[in-house]
Symmetry: C2
Subunit: 574 residues, 2 copies
């Protein structure tokens, strides 16, 4: 509900400027497409909120100029002629790129650390070649040629990764090939009787949905990165979308998979469920390129529901909100979305609202006054979204059942208005991060999952850890959170944090990020619920898998990629 | 709904005779406990049914004598003194067994091939020692000592496996140690707020449920083997229970795991969901001992539902029944059980009913006459069970929604009577197999999963393949099927087959079993939906994982067990 700008037709034309090889890329220095940006002039509460949260005076600060690509010192490609020829033979000579822009675009994902580095021209290692295979056979040829030439291969989908899964390791002395899957973007087949679609792995969210919607289907997978992330990337990082309570995480959705591995194509039959030994399917899921390049998947698809609505609720405080979510998860009701923001995030959401005029403004004031008279502390009030899908009668029944639980926990319904806004604006948040970065403020996200009984303790503990980190930096910082993705035994907690950067933004970011990650572990959570491990979260993997678990993972990688050609040192160092 | 005998108190006393080390075992020559058996005298339709199905005249045949253990030629243990001492040091000297009965009990699972072999005294290789560790530390010590002595370790839960996962390989020249987990049978802790229970892996179904029920909880996992299978065994074979539509398969239920591996304990944190690389959890699931010995798991548990009912329905034919199941899966309704038997299995179920007297008999006759007048062919009529759980209002709503779908597909409701019987008798079927085996008739089961669009074709194709196999053997045989475990994209098809054995039962069984398994593959299914791979289903694994998928599995095993000490040659040959 950040109410950001969305692209105009003119913006879309600008975006075409970064298209190369027929594949659209995000800006090299930030999220999304050129010409699209967050602006706050029509949001009167935003500047005061930012001033209070991180001490940044938006009216006094002026944004940085758009970074100048020409000023970057991009290391030359070390790809030798035989490798170039082999890549040309694999994908066609015109689909091998080595220009600096293409290589820089494929160097990092879009974490705040990535953006800080790329804007500062910190490019210790960039891919030496970028290849654009147009079909599965070309991907397989690339994989085999990379191994034959003892090069390194890193698959690239939409480039939205925030775990450091895409970057070449700084010390890598072998040539690095980024394999951009962008041309593999088609829905190949829909088995309408089974609700299964065969889809190429490079397709981005909007194109996938458009192709499916045209036939009356949806995948039901809508991560925040949706507009710029790919099916293959979702699988390779175990992504989760905001309607996962109904449709499942990508690990549930993706049934069959085809993976180009050294020596040949790994082809897992799509099956509703199977008892066929340790799950190879679940080894591909989350593998971040270390087992090969995902070329295709058979995914579950659903008929576009007859009715879909997102209702907003207010709870008097966080405890009441999470208790309601837990009671919903334990009940016979199964909404498509369960989400509740803490008081801080609720305050942030309200601050990003456009200036309300006329009756709306009066109504909001009247509501808040009423709640205060009921004893609510508006700073602790929590905004919640619950999504319902299905036949209209089912939606109505589910809503009634949920609202009984909401009421029992002291919450009130605010109708569908905010939900409609949330639904429209849900993919725009990353633009806000770029807006802040342009003004010297680092913002990023980190998420975990935790059993219900540990959830409130996790929430409070992570906030305390971040605040201690800000304190140690002598910096004013902000952190806020929401619960999303409910499961039988617990839920995901998603944190957004921001602070004004000093002289060494990377080191400062590390202090805050590490404090948050360590709190995840200390309080019974996991290093990531749906963003993957990469290099960013790897230090905390032994804490949840144990050292023998890491040995198993490293054994798997060593056995299946003895030459360490496939995105080495991601997930585990070995 | 086979309506078999259940144990009396006297039977339970007999059963104590096979207890050893404080761990109850099944009969060495068959399923379950002594003194319990199927009998047909009170089921007037049964003998005619068997005569028609497989040509066996029960009135003319007399059962075999109970096999004589003393007549078996059990190979001597090859465990040397150092290994025995090491095992004694690990578990305590009194918990190391090498007597013939204990070793034979731990040689096989309970597939029909296992029973044929053990009754015939075919024992090319039996475990050399059986150890009964009483705690996790003892299991870890056993694992480390087995590796140090280059012996072979095979974990043993309830011994109900039917995929050949438990047997020592005939050519194994190293000593083989069967690790019986029976003493690790306690629920250690219930996190009531999160619905998670920490449970030792050796616990059998009834004890687990009793311990959970005492606190108001249930695991909701009820495979046919429930009375004699263990939590660790469920995990090691990716088991599925009959209420999986609500509670999930064991792969969903088991969140955290502890596994004794060479060098140390692998300890996976229990988490609602995580994005932490290739899933080590999903490598342990289905691993059949090849990655170590599962000692403990954290499993999802649910409050015992306020209401639980199983309703029976009749459909005019198989197509109508499966179409209804598919429509239920695609609807907003989520029953706990969806099951429909084909006409053959429905006929079998009716034949196992006790003689009906008084009004019941009249009612059944009247119902069938009515259906015939409606144009139903009673031989094609299909019995279905749908289970509902939750709050009474939810159960009522779900039932109404399901019954609209049933009606739309020409089905009729038969009320809860047969469902109550099914629920009471569901774990007794294996006793019927022993009854038939005692009379020279082999019966076994084989199951697959398949997308909805391939389901009817799979059903008909497997039956045709089995009938062709019977034909090639010149034997009268029987095969019947039901659909159970519905998923978004398909369901499990479960086949039961039987034939009167000739001179070489094992070879004859192979002909039938292979025909069925090959049909699974040829028609788009998997080698097993919930029984595991072992040695029995291994030949068909490459068909669904592809050779590169097998390479990945074999790489995992080679890397994590270089000495091939952990149940070698199961799942894959290498």
């Amino acid at each position: 509900m950040t109410d950001l700008v969305t692209p105009t037709d003119a913006d879309r034309e600008d975006a075409a400027a970064v298209r190369d090889q027929g594949v659209a890329h995000m800006k090299w220095w930030g999220w999304g497409v050129p010409g699209v940006a967050f602006h706050f002039e029509d949001k009167p509460a935003f500047a005061p909120f930012v001033l209070k949260a991180v001490g940044l005076d938006l009216h006094a600060s002026s944004p940085l100029e758009q970074p100048d690509f020409a000023a970057l010192d991009v290391p030359a490609s070390i790809a030798d002629a035989p490798l170039r020829e082999a890549m040309g033979a694999a994908v066609g000579a015109d689909r091998v790129a080595d220009d600096d822009l293409d290589r820089v675009v494929h160097t990092y994902g879009k974490s705040i650390r990535d953006l800080i580095k790329v804007r500062a021209g910190r490019l210790p290692r960039v891919p030496d070649l970028v290849v654009y295979p147009a079909d599965e056979a070309a991907v397989q040829a690339v994989v085999d040629a990379v191994v034959a030439h003892d090069a390194v291969l890193i698959p690239f989908g939409g480039g939205s990764n925030i775990a450091g899964s895409l970057e070449p390791m700084p010390g890598e002395s072998r040539p690095v090939v980024s394999v951009d899957l962008g041309l593999l973007d088609r829905v190949l087949d829909v088995d309408e009787g089974s609700g299964l679609a065969r889809v190429q792995a490079g397709v981005l969210g909007p194109s996938l949905e458009a192709q499916l919607n045209a036939r009356g289907w949806t995948i039901g997978h809508f991560p925040d990165s949706f507009t710029h992330s790919s099916l293959g990337g979702w699988i390779a990082t175990r992504s989760s979308g905001m309607q996962s309570d109904k449709y499942g995480d990508i690990a549930d959705i993706a049934r069959g998979m085809r993976v180009a591995r050294p020596g040949g194509l790994l082809d897992l039959r799509a099956t509703p469920s199977a008892s066929t030994g340790p799950s190879v399917r679940e080894m591909i899921l989350g593998s971040e390129g270390r087992l090969g390049v995902i070329t295709e998947a058979v995914v579950q698809v659903h008929r576009v529901p007859a009715k879909r609505s997102i209702h907003a609720y207010f709870f008097p405080n966080w405890r009441a909100g999470t208790k309601a979510m837990r009671q919903i998860a334990a009940s016979d009701v199964h909404p498509a979305i369960t989400r509740v923001s803490d008081g801080r995030e609720t305050g942030f959401s309200l601050s990003t609202s456009k200036e309300s005029k006329g009756f709306g403004a009066f109504a909001q004031k009247a509501l808040f006054a009423f709640l205060q008279r009921r004893g609510w502390n508006l700073d602790e009030m929590c905004l919640s979204f619950i999504g319902y899908e299905g036949e209209p009668a089912h939606v109505a029944k589910q809503r009634r059942a949920v609202e009984r639980i909401v009421k029992r926990n002291g919450g009130i319904s605010v109708g569908t208005g905010p939900g409609v806004l949330y639904d429209q604006k849900k993919f725009d948040t990353p633009y806000l991060r770029d807006f802040l970065l342009d003004r010297g403020t680092a913002g990023d996200v980190s998420e975990t999952s935790v059993p219900w009984t540990g959830l409130d303790r996790m929430h409070d503990g992570v906030i305390a850890a971040a605040e201690a980190a800000y304190e140690s930096l002598g910096r004013k910082g902000w952190i806020m959170s929401h619960l999303s993705h409910s499961y039988h035994s617990g839920a995901c907690l998603y944190f957004t944090f921001a602070f004004v950067m000093g002289d060494d933004p990377e080191a400062e970011y590390d202090v805050v990020k590490q404090a948050i990650q360590q709190a995840f572990i200390d309080l019974g959570g996991v290093p990531s619920h749906h963003h993957g491990i990469g290099v960013e979260h790897a230090p905390w993997l032994p804490d949840v898998l144990s050292e023998p678990g890491i040995d198993v993972l490293e054994g798997l990688f060593a056995a299946t990629d003895p030459g360490r050609n496939l995105n080495p040192a991601k997930i585990t160092a070995n």
